[in-house]
Structure formats: structure tokens, C-alpha cells
Amino acid sequence: MELTAQKSIEKEIKSSLVTDPISHSHKELTKEQIREIVAKRAAKEFREGDVVTLGIGLPTAVANYVPENMHVIFQSENGLLGVGKDQKGNIDKRVINAGGGYVEARQGACFYDSQMAFTMMRGGHIDATVLGALQVDSDGSLASWMIPGKMVPGMGGSMDLVVGAKKVIVAMEHTSKGQIKIVEKCTLPLTAFREVNMIITERCVFEVENDGLVLKEINPMFSVDDIKASTGADFRICDNLKAMC
């Protein structure tokens, strides 16, 4: 539920933000292609046995790209460790994920209450979280829960999750409706201050280091100048810049 209202929020971001100069160029990808590129790349961050909490929307798709032979356990803040596939056939409404979808519990799963869910999340027991953003900045601060005076869905569990997870991965479209989302300093109210470790978009991968963003990987469809033009923050280019795949 962290990002349930993400889409409706994004509609509201129209003003004051810098326009992405390349989003309407020949390099534009479809939503489905973006989703696949980002989700596929994010899934590579997991290690065997990791416990991961995914945000709603694009981040949910990450689960589809975990290699078959790797065991990653998905945790849902509403009380399920071991989220499985969507339920088919006779629906049991007593088993849902944080987005309200009816899901299966995998072999080895367990159910628990909200206190326990947040012991996992805020207490540092989640290895990685992947979530979306309205804005993310060069300090690793994240804005994802409200646009003052416009859309205020609430933070749900996202603030606790971002503070507590060992690794925080923002997975999103590089820009949204042509507006720049990776900025020097977030202008929207923060979800968390300096907690993001990595930003994965369809164009590139940034790591957040003490001195700011470092470009680690780039999608060969784009040039470094493309990234510069569509990113609102300065960044350092890794000596060993790799192709994103």
C-alpha cells in the first residue's frame, strides 16, 4: 500500500518541474518496456535467501524476474512472509498483499500481525526494499507520499520501511510525463531523509554515495549526455561505467 496512489499523484505533478528533453524523442520506450527494463535490473540486486519488501506498481513486477533457482522471500506489511502468486479460482479473501490483491502464501510462509510486520521492517530485518518515488535526490532523500494541497494519499508503511530496510532501491521511470524526478534536493515533502542507496530507471543505475550520485550503469540506448539532460542533479561517472542489462 506504500504507493497505491502513485499514479494519481503523478497526474498532479505538472507545475514547476524541469521538463525532460528526451522523453518525446525517438528514444522513448513504451510503459511496458520501461517496466521490464527496470524490474529486470532491480531483481539482480537480490542475493540468495534475501527477504525483500516491494512497493506497489512497477516494483511489484520485480518479483517476476528473480531467477528460478534463487530463493528470495517477499514480505508484505499486512502480515505475510512468503508472498506467492495471485490467487486463481476460488478466492480466499483472508489472504491479501499490501495492495489488497488476493495472493497465495508460498511453502514456508507465515502470517503475523502488524506489530511483527513493522518489527521486521523498521527493525532492520528486511534485506532490501524496492519502491517508487515522486522525487529522489542526490542525498538519497525520497519523496513519495504527498503533494501539498493536491494529493495526500498518506505514507502507509513506506516511511518505516525506508528507514529500516538494509538496502533501499528506488525503481522508477527516469522521468514522469516528461517531468524530472531525480533532483538535487527534493521539493516535495520527504518520505525519508538520506535513506536511498540505489536508483534504477530505464536509462541508468545510480548509486547514492556520500558525495552524491554515481552513475554506475547506462542503458546503451542512451548517452551520458541524455542522462545529464534528463537528471536534475549533478552526478559523478563511475570509472568503470557499465552497460545496463
Binding site: 496512489a5 499486512n78 491479501i96 489488497g100 494541497g149 498518506g154 528507514v163 515533502p189 520527504l190 525519508a192
Partner: protein, 216 residues
């Protein structure tokens, strides 16, 4: 042995202006029958404490649409556009609290602690007007305990001693809310004579009234 009553009788104890905690994560594990009765009896000016306001046509969401809530303390209202609409129109006072903090505030009340010291929200607007505490070089926000006059909770199986057990992801905030209200009313999917003592999730001493779904 606990009092087993009708939804009508249980809800009739709640007066206009009361504070009410309601369990459930979206529609899952929500005491829908008790909420329906709250709508039917049209209790007004309530303070509602809940995880979310679900959807406009579902359980807690109907209380919003029916304008029975004066003050709402919750973590997420994005699934119910009516909540945001009333908030922006100044008709509904909404206090948004991170989910983990909301749960700990309720737990602090139930477990007799003076408050919560949480790292969640540090460096955000949530810090404004809050007391903070530096502990070993790290900043924490102080939050007060949160109780209510009533808790309306759900249980999958409830026994005659008030013990509650759950199936699936229905536990959510039901467990912590049971500890933090003056009067706790549980809606039971099924009433049983006696649960296995190892299976009990909410010990019977927290429950005051049982309403059985099939009886209504």
C-alpha cells in the same frame, strides 16, 4: 465466559462523539458487520483510528462517505477518494501517521508505556511540532500513546472465554487494538467452545463482548 451479544446491542453502547479503533487492513480482517451496524445506527462525530479508509463502498470507507467521522487518525487514505475530498474541504480532520508509528502508539497505550521513540519520519515534515530525542547520536521522534473508548475488531475463531485466533492476513491491527480500548468488541467468523490454548493470538482477558457473524 464472555457476553455474546447482537451487533445491534454491541454498537448501541457507542455514543455520538466516541473514539473508536477499527481493525482491518483494507477489507481484510475488518469487522464488517459491526461497521455496517455503526452505519445503520448512524453514530456521529466519531474519532476513528484505523489503518486506512478502504474504499468508498467498503466497511470503514462507508463511515467516511456517510460523514460519521469528525476526526480520523490513520496511515493511508489513498484508496478512498472521498476521504481526501472531505479533508481538503475542511469537513474531516485527518491526522496521518506512519503505519509503524500508529501501531506502536496503540501498543504503548495497551502495554502501559509512556510513549514511542521512533526513527521513522526524522528529517521529514512529521518532525515539525514534535519532541525529538537524541540517543547515542541518532535522532528519534517522541510520540504519545493512543487509546480509544472502543475497539471493534475481527477474529476468525473466538471461543466463549474471549480467546481469538486468526486465519491468513486478518490479524493486522486487530491484535494491538484489543489491548488499547476501554471496551473491546470482537466480531467472530465462528464461535467455538474452547480454542487450543497454543493457538490463541488475542488472550481472552482483552475482549469484552463477542458478536457472532452467523447469528446476525
Amino acid at each position: 465466559m464472555k457476553s455474546i451479544v447482537s451487533a445491534q446491542k454491541a454498537i448501541s453502547m457507542i455514543k455520538d462523539g466516541a473514539s473508536v479503533m477499527i481493525g482491518g487492513f483494507l477489507e481484510c480482517g475488518a469487522p464488517d458487520m459491526l461497521i455496517d451496524e455503526l452505519v445503520k445506527q448512524n453514530k456521529k462525530n466519531l474519532t476513528m483510528i484505523s489503518n486506512d479508509t478502504t474504499y468508498p463502498d467498503a466497511d470503514k470507507g462507508r463511515l467516511i462517505v456517510n460523514k460519521q467521522i469528525k476526526k480520523l487518525i490513520t496511515s493511508h487514505i489513498g484508496t478512498n477518494p472521498e476521504t481526501g475530498k472531505q479533508m481538503h474541504a475542511g469537513e474531516l480532520d485527518v491526522e496521518l501517521v506512519p503505519m509503524g508509528t500508529l501501531i506502536e502508539k496503540i501498543r504503548a497505550k495497551g502495554t502501559g508505556l509512556g510513549g514511542v521513540l521512533t526513527p521513522t519520519g526524522v528529517g521529514t515534515v512529521l518532525e515539525e511540532n514534535k519532541e525529538t530525542m537524541n540517543i547515542d547520536g541518532k535522532k528519534f521522534i517522541f510520540e504519545k500513546p493512543l487509546g480509544a473508548d472502543f475497539a471493534l475488531i475481527y477474529g476468525t475463531k473466538v471461543d466463549k472465554y474471549g480467546n481469538v485466533s486468526f486465519y491468513g492476513t486478518t490479524r493486522n491491527l486487530n491484535t494491538v487494538m484489543a489491548t488499547a480500548a476501554d471496551t473491546v468488541i470482537v466480531q467472530a467468523d465462528e464461535l467455538v467452545e474452547c480454542l487450543d490454548p497454543n493457538e490463541v493470538v488475542i488472550p481472552g482477558l482483552f475482549v469484552d463482548y463477542i458478536v457472532v457473524k452467523e447469528n446476525n
